[in-house]
């Protein structure tokens, strides 16, 4: 496998760019593995990579029903941040951001992380108080956060609506400098290449249809390419966790919902930070090609259909126009939607399932992209050691029964409102 470097680039260019090797092998399934990971997205591939790298477990297969990077890894708004407030979430997401910061070097693959900062806008003094509290909690956990005044926000993002006509006047913002965006496909490709280099089999076009059982224990998976045995099976199929768990007879605290996202035609640089609106659920950044990438709320009803509905499109565009009026002159050129595992408290699940041999990494709601590295890192630990790492110790299934929900937004068991 070619090590990517400026030197390799020049050398291959002089040779007419022939001789680049594949980034990873298109492996055929073997009869059995130590660990089978279901789901070849960012989380599943990161899990396989850290299993091999951190725990020396290399008899690993990643099964993907479609192609690598073709699921939710390629259906998000690429925002990376760690501005969480609740114990259990805070340090986990900070770990994830730190893994992002070293990822390009670690994987020898440019994930194009751009730490351009994120403005969480506040539109009332009460929101500023809440932002100050959140920022203080972040700083106490060693995470960078800064409270900005209206004028400081204006200097960072002058295209926001600072006029007297603004429907939701900007009072200030909570700023995280280390937040930003990354290249969404690159994390899948980089982890796939890194895992493959450690001997992990990445098997595409292989859909899991059921589990192989022995004395009440899961000992493998039935797939469209035959049965594959495994000592441990890990699910990393957020969006479809409920569907696969049902094959194992599990009911989960998860509903599946739709989230849409949009990209406009490219324009010259107008916004060099990530902005989230404080008066409605809306977030926007400008990608490297110049397109404005935007997202907002869930469609609001349970759905497995990977396509969005019109009312939410209207709402998103209204939000966009309220915060950056000139966006109304741009055309939306791409629009996509992904299916989300929405948990009953808005926080994820990384734990052993009640069934021996089956482990679950899911419930990512719509925060899965930024969490991919830490999710894989913690899931690999859970699979290898048979117990959670301190960082994912609270992401259990039984927290709902015990009354230890991690409800960042305080919405209760109404997953479409998280």
């Amino acid at each position: 496998m070619t090590h990517y470097s400026a030197f390799a680039l020049v050398r291959k260019a002089l040779g007419g760019n022939r001789g680049w090797s594949r980034a990873w092998r298109n492996a055929e399934p073997k009869a059995g593995y130590d660990v089978v990971i279901v789901g070849g997205g960012g989380h599943g591939l990161a899990t396989a990579y850290y299993l091999a790298k951190e725990h020396g477990i290399t008899s690993v297969a990643v099964l993907e029903k479609g192609y690598i990077g073709g699921g939710n890894t390629g259906r998000n708004t690429t925002i990376v941040r760690s501005n969480y407030m609740i114990d259990g979430n805070t340090r986990f997401y900070e770990k994830s951001l730190r893994l992002w910061e070293e990822m390009s070097h670690d994987l020898n693959f440019n994930v194009m992380l751009s730490q351009r900062g994120q403005l969480n806008l506040c539109h009332s003094p009460a929101q500023m108080d809440a932002a100050a509290r959140r920022g203080n909690i972040m700083r106490m956990n060693g995470i960078d956060a800064e409270l900005l005044s209206r004028e400081e926000v204006r200097r960072k993002a002058p295209i926001l609506d600072f006029s007297d006509e603004a429907r939701f006047p900007i009072v200030g913002a909570l700023w995280q400098q280390r937040a930003g965006i990354a290249r969404h496909d690159a994390i899948a490709w980089g982890y796939a290449r890194g895992a493959d280099r450690h001997g992990v089999d990445i098997i595409q076009g292989c859909e899991v249809k059921g589990f192989v059982w022995e004395r009440g224990r899961v000992v493998g998976v039935e797939t469209t390419r035959g049965a594959i045995r495994a000592n441990k099976v890990g699910l990393a199929v957020a969006g479809h966790t409920g569907h696969l768990a049902k094959m194992a007879g599990l009911r989960l605290p998860i509903e599946t919902h739709l989230l849409q996202a949009f990209a406009t035609e490219p324009v010259k640089p107008i916004l060099d930070t990530v902005v989230s609106f404080g008066a409605a659920h809306f977030y926007v950044s400008q990608d490297d090609k110049g397109g404005m990438v935007m997202g907002s709320d869930l469609d609001g009803y349970n759905s497995y259909g990977q396509r969005g509905d019109l009312p939410l499109i209207e709402e998103t565009m209204a939000d966009a126009k309220a915060i950056i009026p000139l966006l109304s002159r741009l055309r939306v050129v791409r629009h996509w939607s992904g299916v989300m595992d929405m948990t009953m408290d808005g926080s994820p699940i990384i734990c052993k399932s009640p069934i021996d041999g089956l482990y679950i990494d899911g419930g990512w709601c719509y925060g899965g992209f930024k969490a991919s590295p830490a999710s894989g890192w913690c899931f690999a630990h859970t699979l290898a050691k048979d117990q959670p790492h301190e960082l994912n110790a609270r992401f259990t299934l039984d927290r709902f029964r015990r009354g230890y929900q991690l409800d960042e937004k305080g919405m209760g068991p109404t997953p479409w409102a998280h």
Partner: protein, 98 residues
Amino acid sequence: MLRITCPFCGERDQVEFAYGGDAASVFPDLADADLDRWTDAVFMRDNPRGDHREFWQHQHGCRQWLYVVRDTVTHEIKSTLPAREPRRAAATHEGRKG
């Protein structure tokens, strides 16, 4: 855009309605103190890929709560009933397993 046929007002756009969530979970009797049964009813979901029983409220219409069966893949609405008695409505469809 979903079009929901309200039994009281007729066929209307989805934007007139508010979603009320999964209608398959039925809460235990209030005197029941069993933690597992409450956990099951409050937090656990069948989350089907296919027919889903759910509540909608005709918020910008007659304000009645409705009991809707909708396919979660095609979004096709199979039936709409008043939700006054969800247990009775549930009994007209295939009962939930377990």
